[in-house]
Symmetry: C2
Subunit: 232 residues, 2 copies
């Protein structure tokens, strides 16, 4: 028994994966989505990404009224990017007023299967793997929260990108790259900033060779991150 | 089997709790800490709060060099408050360079027991409850991340306090209150802001009756949150 799952172990397809897929198909519990299509996920059910990638998004309907009369309060709730769920990984939706989570297909041909938790009664070992996967996701979110507590936006940005590439990155010529694009607006929504600010700060990180942008607009971290001299 | 644990169910003492405590004591796996004392927790082990409350803190050693020569870069890493772990709840430590987590006793007489994951092989049901507790903590952190994505600091602050009181609050005369104090610096470290800004914005939230401060400096949410008229 492995006590602390590493990224590669969690990525490993579940042992009973094929049997679960067969079960889902025979029970009409699978569906394929187009890029950016919303996945109609409900709280209380368990979802597994079969192919592609899912983007989790959170909405906070909390807005303190502004004191200035002229400042109109946006009625559009802000959506925060909460991370990806890759193939072979589980996710679930929480709803706790005034917060809601939503799931979107992040890439074309994203397939998802779903089940009730009691459907797993027959597969106790698989349920254990699912729970371990959520435990791992929780550990990652604690690291994510650690970087979001930093005061400078550029530190939050670099910390956030480091965590994302570490978890989802794939090796390329110049380092590790995210396998799918992420817009500056989406990045801003995760770190409490704006698209404009993210664009500006990404430029600074590129100038300092702390990140690079490869073809297809993929964000990469150089393999060797040598300490930077600010006066170089 | 309950698929989605509610807050009250997770708070319920584990069924085999007393047996686990006896086991921990007989194996010298328990220790009591003073307020703000650091708990020497290590990655790979499982910790359970027996009494009191633990404060989780994350440190991000990421700092982008400033372009201005005059701006000295703080060598002190920023510590971010990541939440409480109350009695009966589990926690674990992750270390993933450049991030580290640490645990502190948040109140006097905080007792913690610890074990290896394989120690739970004899208690499969208890292990399941532990994993469900981590699953619940993960859900709470996703909501937490949803509010930290908001652009206005005051919205992040109110969202953060709402989530904290919702999870740890106890009923009082005027609403629900956190059972232990939290400094403005600690709040700032969670929402990417400073002590000074938090103090100013807490004043605004109190003026608008969105929060109140009770004796012993405890933060409370009024029971009935009626919609505020900004011009009232």
């Amino acid at each position: 028994m492995q006590s602390l799952p590493s990224a590669s172990e969690v990525s490993r397809p579940f042992l009973t994966w094929q049997r679960i897929l067969d079960w889902a198909q025979s029970h009409y519990r699978d569906r394929t989505f187009s890029k950016d299509e919303r996945i109609p996920a409900r709280p209380g059910l368990l979802y597994l990404v079969q192919r592609g990638a899912v983007r989790l998004v959170g909405t906070a309907q909390i807005s303190v009224p502004s004191r200035r009369k002229s400042a109109s309060i946006s009625t559009e709730p802000e959506e925060a990017f909460l991370g990806f769920v890759g193939a072979g990984h589980p996710f679930e939706i929480v709803a706790q007023s005034p917060f809601t989570l939503q799931a979107y297909a992040h890439v074309e041909q994203t397939s998802v299967i779903w089940m009730y938790w009691h459907d797993l009664d027959n597969w106790p070992h698989f349920r254990r793997e699912i729970l371990d996967a959520f435990r791992y996701q929780h550990q990652r979110k604690l690291l994510w929260l650690s970087t979001l507590g930093q005061r400078r936006t550029i530190d939050r940005l670099l910390g956030f990108l480091t965590l994302l590439v570490e978890e989802y990155g794939e090796p390329r010529d110049n380092g590790y790259c995210l396998p799918y694009p992420l817009t500056h607006a989406q990045i801003g929504s995760a770190i409490g900033s704006t698209r404009v600010t993210v664009t500006r700060l990404m430029g600074r990180l590129r100038q300092q060779n702390l990140i690079s942008i490869e073809e297809d607009n993929l964000i990469c971290l150089p393999t060797m991150q040598t300490p930077q001299d600010p006066d170089a």
